[in-house]
Symmetry: C2
Subunit: 425 residues, 2 copies
């Protein structure tokens, strides 16, 4: 399916009017950035641009889409013809996936004619606002987990297609697995999942359910032990699977106390290597609170797919340059700088990031340990080769190491590093 109508009507009425008055071909630069991070957040995470570039490959107006637009009176005959011929021929540059961003960071720059760029606005923002929100929340959970694996299992709490993108964004942010099979199929993300409470309830008793699961999946599986009594569930699990059972999962109750009791019980049964997985409304704070407990793996769902309190990233797509001239909307408390931007991140010799410098219509002075932040996504309409998802995952891990340690705190605070936007001189 073509993604062209996943858009706001005004993108097309603007194209229609601009084609009529001759401004449609003016050379424009649009910039994606945020004015502020979600309350208290210290960094944003770029995610979704890889997915966006894939969607842009299919960005062609189909005949029945154009017929709908004509029937609805949204575009005239000339615009319909323009849409039928539409191909994006401009450039898209931006921060790589896995890069951090802050208020004012120009994370995506789209250049071309007004008309060819403006029709991409809604799709660009939908993809980035969603995926960046999920990635930022997920990165905080990965930090809170302190090296323990986290499984994404939130598909059922969000739109069925958003779930697939959420699995991708959380994997990019360092999650180890997803429960979402479409994400496994499309993106090669490792998947996980064994059984729900319904499976135990289906059977005549808990040992029968466990025996069935072990018969089908082997001992290298996770038994869900909290359908009835957890201690008895663990005894049943080890009685059925033996002490080399891979893991048990606890999905309810006071996870802190239950993890301790479960570890003691497993050890007393000789299952000293059997892992404990906990789940149930975990967010970054709940994960952090379990740091001292004998937990081996976390399952997180709702908080991941809803961005843990910040379900959208607040990114905007603003026209910043027309025919080489910087433009900016006059609006109180929105002091933005027009013009195409070049961004660098500055670092101490130790590698710690200190600030981001964003220069309008120019290039920042070069200093040692600077890193240029923008890369090519699309060149003259042709998608550039992109690094694999695993590379974005590595990149984020490196970036999180590079920011001052306060930037990783879960508590509310200022952005980890300041961004200075330097206007055209």
């Amino acid at each position: 399916m073509h993604p062209t109508l996943l858009t706001d009507q005004y993108e097309l009425t603007m194209v229609n009017a601009a084609l009529k008055d001759g401004t449609a071909d003016r050379r424009c630069v649009f910039e994606v950035f945020t004015r502020r991070l979600p309350t208290g957040r210290r960094y944003g995470v770029v995610a979704g641009t890889g997915r966006l570039v894939e969607l842009l490959r299919d960005f062609r107006f189909a005949d029945d889409d154009i017929a709908y637009l004509r029937r609805a009176g949204i575009v005239d005959a000339d615009t319909a013809k323009w849409l039928a011929d539409y191909r994006f021929t401009g450039d898209i540059d931006g921060y790589p996936e896995g890069e951090l961003f802050f208020p004012g960071s120009p994370i995506l720059t789209v250049s071309g004619t007004f008309a060819e760029c403006v029709v991409l606005e809604t799709l660009v923002l939908s993809v980035l606002n969603h995926d960046c929100a999920i990635a930022a929340a997920s990165a905080r959970m990965v930090t809170a987990a302190r090296g323990r694996a986290v499984i994404e299992m939130g598909s059922r709490r969000t739109h069925e297609q958003a779930a697939v993108a959420a699995a991708r964004a959380s994997y990019l942010a360092g999650f180890a697995y997803t429960s979402n099979l479409a994400a496994g199929q499309r993106y090669g993300i490792p998947t996980a999942g064994t059984a729900a409470h319904a499976f135990t309830l289906l059977h005549d008793d808990e040992p029968a359910a466990f025996a069935s699961q072990v018969a089908a999946l082997g001992k290298n599986t996770t038994l869900l032990v909290d359908t009835y009594d957890i201690a008895q569930g663990i005894r049943n699990a080890i009685a059925v699977a033996g002490p080399d059972l891979l893991a048990v999962r606890i999905d309810s109750g006071d996870l802190s106390v239950l993890a301790q009791h479960s570890r003691e019980l497993l050890d007393s049964l000789g299952a000293t290597e059997t892992k404990i997985i906990v789940s149930g409304d975990l967010d970054e704070y709940a994960i952090a609170a379990l740091a001292a407990e004998p937990v081996d793996m976390y399952g997180a769902g709702t908080a991941v797919v809803t961005g843990s309190g910040a379900p959208t990233a607040g990114l905007v797509y603003k026209l910043v340059e027309v025919d080489g001239r910087p433009v900016v909307k006059r609006s109180e408390n929105k002091a933005t700088v027009g013009g195409r931007k070049v961004a660098v991140r500055r670092h101490k010799p130790t590698g710690t990031a200190t600030e981001e410098i964003v220069v309008s219509q120019g290039v920042p002075d070069h200093k040692p340990n600077d890193r240029l932040l923008q890369t090519s996504y699309v060149i003259s309409g042709e998608p550039a080769a992109q690094p694999p998802l695993a590379a974005a995952r590595d990149h984020l891990r490196q970036c999180l190491i590079s920011i001052p340690w306060e930037g990783l705190k879960l508590s509310a605070g200022d952005p980890a590093i300041p961004v200075t936007v330097v206007p055209t001189s």
Copy 2:
């Protein structure tokens, strides 16, 4: 595209194990309900079931999906064969779209064999948790708007496909228009949208931009007047379009003061019929706060598509009956009742709803002014005819009239009416 892999892995590993041990064909009843509403909310709104039934028509495991499952080691050869032959042959009953629900309301009941029902779990929950969340938030905004029209314009703040479902859910909840063209095309929802700030910035000056828009769209259009100075913007708008311009839109600043000043200015220019549309981070509270101002229409975006603080509805899909026997998970603070349920809503002779009675494995006593809440969505695998979206919209409007007036307050409170779940006697 088939929606079969938009699911959690464990649904399929459970099917695999149940096929091996012979429990896959046990007759089961699964129930969708919520244990609690989002904090402070007084009602939930059923939305998404129409969309779900459409997705279930295409719920067939494609060859390459099955090949992926085999390759990933998720199912064995027998299960792969079962999946290839999969057709849902059971029944789905539930509350109609536009119906209200409360904690314990059995909004969807899925009956059939364990295996055929459990593979639907994740998709059912994704659709309903998303769409119900959007509809509930939207309904509060419609109430706050007190008869003034509300436009949904949040596509850019959520996943590109979730945006289409959000437009549908908000229209169901009483919104007048959406900006989302795919929603217009797929669901026949009226669409709206004219121009963004970029269109004004593109032109040499504001009058040129307005003249272009009026030339393309006529005077029956909305001019966005806050790119530079709003008062001057309004003067430019009327100078270009004349006093019979349809509307102006203000998207920033103190909307209360600006609406008053804009009304005075428009009237002084003779544009007494020109409407004022306001937008910019509006939620139900901001809309309510503008009730006394001369505003004609509201545009709401972020708050709609993120559920205004409650981005997911908290619905669960629980096994409640196996071979006619009620089943229930033992879990602290989750006192749920097993068994297939029948639900009625009781009303005073005046039509005001008083309570919901939900009986397990039986039928509620019939009282005057009772209304049975469940309808057939799927009968023996065949989708039943569904009322059009407009009917769901009307139904919700009637339901909101029927609840006690406290139920419509925006402030935090208890559910509008109590639900009593009566266990099997």
